[in-house]
């Protein structure tokens, strides 16, 4: 369909500009600052990097400062084996957690989408219920569950399933459990939404053409819900890669995830450029797949 473009009124322009202005001020500008710091060198000073720029020095001082930009932090990012390990650990743990969460979330989402219209809001509310409690407190609660003398081990020993307590706390397993638990609602919601929008008649058509319940699911329901699955996976995977709190609280000293490495660089080593370079690199790596899937989804809709 063709739509005649018409000039927008000032009010409409201002309304449209507001979100862009917001993004410019609170997303792009800070990001550029972080990027600038990643091109700096560490010094023992306050702030702990150079060059710094002031308004008073004039253009020549700015030029002198600009000469001091270096790629040292970026080189370190590639050369430091600690970072390579942190990348691998982060992506692996986030990927495993996302996969487990998808497997748990799909039946949840299906149950919500197929529930009667009267029950659906209640079930969705229950899926969201954990958000009513502080994230930090919920992660702390998992310490009480997972530690050696925690609820889980007590219960398993009492039931006679195990004799000695399982060492789950302070391992990568605990981190995966924590991440899956914390991000599960973010995966359930988009999948439930995608399933709910599916036309019931498509399933009837599949049955009419001889497909039993399983084949209808495999060939119709599941493929048509993939955009929701992809959205849920990205919504979880992206923040999970940079997750800091969960590995810090539930992980062991050997759990080296990117968020924690950056935190250490920033607060303990006072190496701001390295932490900044890590943050920018993470963003670039994660933006790639988002843009790709966004494009693909737009194409499949059109």
């Amino acid at each position: 369909m063709t739509r005649k473009s018409r000039s927008l009124s000032w009010g409409e322009r201002a309304t449209l500009a507001a979100p862009y202005l917001w993004l410019l001020l609170f997303f792009l500008a800070p990001l550029l600052l972080v990027f600038k710091i990643s091109l700096s060198k560490t010094v023992i000073a306050r702030p702990p990097y150079e060059p710094t720029f002031t308004w008073s020095g004039g253009w020549s001082a700015w030029w002198d400062g600009a000469q001091k930009f270096s790629l040292e932090a970026w080189r370190g990012l590639v050369a430091d084996p600690l970072y390579a390990r942190a990348w691998a650990t982060s992506i692996a743990l986030a990927a495993i957690s996302t996969l487990i969460a998808l497997i748990i979330a799909y039946p949840f989402a299906l149950a919500i989408a197929r529930a009667s219209a009267r029950w659906r809001p209640t079930l969705l509310g229950l899926a969201m219920a954990p958000f009513w409690t502080s994230f930090l407190i919920r992660v702390y609660a998992w310490i009480a569950i997972l530690k050696d003398e925690g609820f889980l081990n007590h219960a398993l020993i009492a039931l006679g399933i195990i004799k000695a307590p399982l060492a789950i706390f302070a391992t990568n397993v605990a981190v995966v459990i924590g991440i899956v638990y914390s991000y599960l609602p973010f995966v359930i919601l988009p999948i439930a939404n995608a399933l709910e929008k599916q036309d019931v008649q498509l399933r009837e058509a599949a049955a009419d053409l001889g497909a039993d319940a399983w084949r209808t699911f495999l060939h119709v329901t599941l493929p048509l819900s993939l955009p929701g699955v992809m959205a849920g996976a990205l919504l979880m995977f992206i923040p999970a890669v940079g997750e800091f709190v969960i590995p810090d609280l539930l992980g062991g000293s050997d759990t080296m995830m990117l968020g924690k490495v950056m935190w250490n660089d920033f607060f303990e080593n006072r190496d701001w450029p390295a932490a900044a370079a890590g943050a920018v690199a993470l963003l670039i790596v994660l933006v790639g797949p988002i843009v790709y899937f966004e494009k693909r989804q737009n194409r499949s809709v059109a």
């Binding site: 498509l202 009419d208 209808t216 060939h219 048509l224």
Partner: protein, 348 residues
Amino acid sequence: MTAILSFDNVSRRFGATLAVDRVSLSVAPGEFFALLGPSGCGKTTLMRMAAGFETPDEGKVFIAGEDVTQIPAHRRPVNMMFQSYALFPHMSVSENIAFGLKRAGMSRADIAARVAEMARLARLEGLEDRKPAQLSGGQRQRAALARALARAPKLLLLDEPLAALDRKLREATQFELMDIQKRLGTAFVVVTHDQEEAMALADRMAVMRAGRIEQVGAPADVYARPRSRFVADFIGECNLFEGEAQGADIVTKDGVLRAGAPAPHAGKASAIVRPEKLRFVAPQSQGVNVLHGIVHDAAFRGDRSLYRVALPSGQMLRVARSGGAETIGQGVAVSVAFDAQDCVIVDD
């Protein structure tokens, strides 16, 4: 010959409403059958019971003589074309057509041959790789038909197959549908609320109202001899005279009218005469079934003109007159007559 589809006293209740009320009906093999009625009359529920999407609360459904009442949809030897077409949006036209064939366990080569055959039948050649979203409304309709016919069912159910098409396309598609039906010899059961569509398509039709069947018959018979006021009114235009029936005569405010057959019961009844069965006769003619009135207005319809004639009782008579004849001006006193055989008396 065993009926391809038959309902034996089926009922279906949704909460407090009885959507289908003790319906019995048979469709012969190769027949083009229409279920006609206003929305909410139960025609779609009845069709969905044949497809297996609804189970009757009472009664039985038979397909080709076999009791399928408890057989789930995916194991019934019928196919259905949905009103929304329900084409799988993530599959191409050929994948849509092949879906049912794959479920039937056909070999790849056989599937490819059958898909090509169906694409040819439904005039979809060259569009096989398109997704449903890339098709026009008419092409989508034909793709849905091709998919539903791919498994060569003995019975095809069509839910409002033409409702989503615009008027011009609908007429062309009507003939196409009849053509395909005759060529394949498949029994078609069409659900529609459009009486013109039902009459144009079907060999026989059932007129439904409030979950019950009012009348079953060939369109021409149902049109000429409606069994109730509802049927007469729902199918085509009609003139209705209320009165007291006495045998084949009925006493109305406009005089005594004579019908072709005696009334089913004596007492309150209505006489029905179709507008095209009325003809203008010489003014002040005398005789049976002659009415006198004044031309109220006339609407020119190209192939015919429709007159409204005011009778002394105040009733407005509708008279159709085929084109070509000179027009009669407003306010002219006229006489109209009809043959007794063109008048039907129905119960009130």
